[in-house]
Symmetry: C2
Subunit: 129 residues, 2 copies
Amino acid sequence: MQNLSKNQQIIFDLIDKSPEPLKAYTILYNVQKKGIKAPLQVYRALDKLVEIGKIHKIESRNAFIACHNSSCRVAKATAFSICEICEKVTEISSAGLSKYLANFKDKDGMKYIKYNLEFFGLCKKCKVK
Amino acid sequence: MQNLSKNQQIIFDLIDKSPEPLKAYTILYNVQKKGIKAPLQVYRALDKLVEIGKIHKIESRNAFIACHNSSCRVAKATAFSICEICEKVTEISSAGLSKYLANFKDKDGMKYIKYNLEFFGLCKKCKVK
DNA sequence: ATTTAAATTGTTATAATATAACAAGATGTT
DNA sequence: AACATCTTGTTATATTATAACAATTTAAAT
């Protein structure tokens, strides 16, 4: 694992500490005091962090979350659960699921090496309410 | 199934005829001759069409595709394959896959009623090249 | 140490995607 | 007809993301 550059480290630290996915401009506002002034600086760091698997993008929310799944260091196979009320996002770490999807073949016999799965529902807390 | 309104019908027809997912502003440019002038008119129709399951949003592409899967009229469980070269998108219709995902429970025993899965790979054509 | 290539940064401007807020008209139901 | 709901039209604005260009830093190779 290569070391992160200055901007990459600043932005990764912020995302890693956050209990919730962060959006690019939220990140920008939070790192301006550290000298990162422009959107592009944020997006470039995000691109790289996604590429090396340190973070994932929640596509349906345009938000970024740190990877807490040691098995997905390739950043190619991601699965999340998203609470539709509180928007809490959790990375799903299920050997069964990832095995099933990794082996899934469609009608044409096509195999996929990369996927993104987003489950929607109610989290424990919001279910109770 | 309720009938579509004028704008909804115009926009659905366009998406339904398209061999590829369409983006909101591409749709806008293509329906301006029919009197739909503003982005909001497009987004409102898209929202409704998604809601009633006539189209799906490809989240990773910000694009919309007509539903060609008779079994997902609730628009709650979608799976697509996306070619990373030509960007061709196909809706996956696999009883096994949908059954597996519908029954998937995470560690907390949580069941999800809705999901979106996007597989990435190379389509037949692009694989050959 | 110097060269070199690659990666990273900084900066301004702009493109692309999406919603807020308000007013009016159409439609369906009782 | 009265009512509620859905749909439309319109302007303005918010949010998300990239283009284009130049300079600097880093790492590795010689």
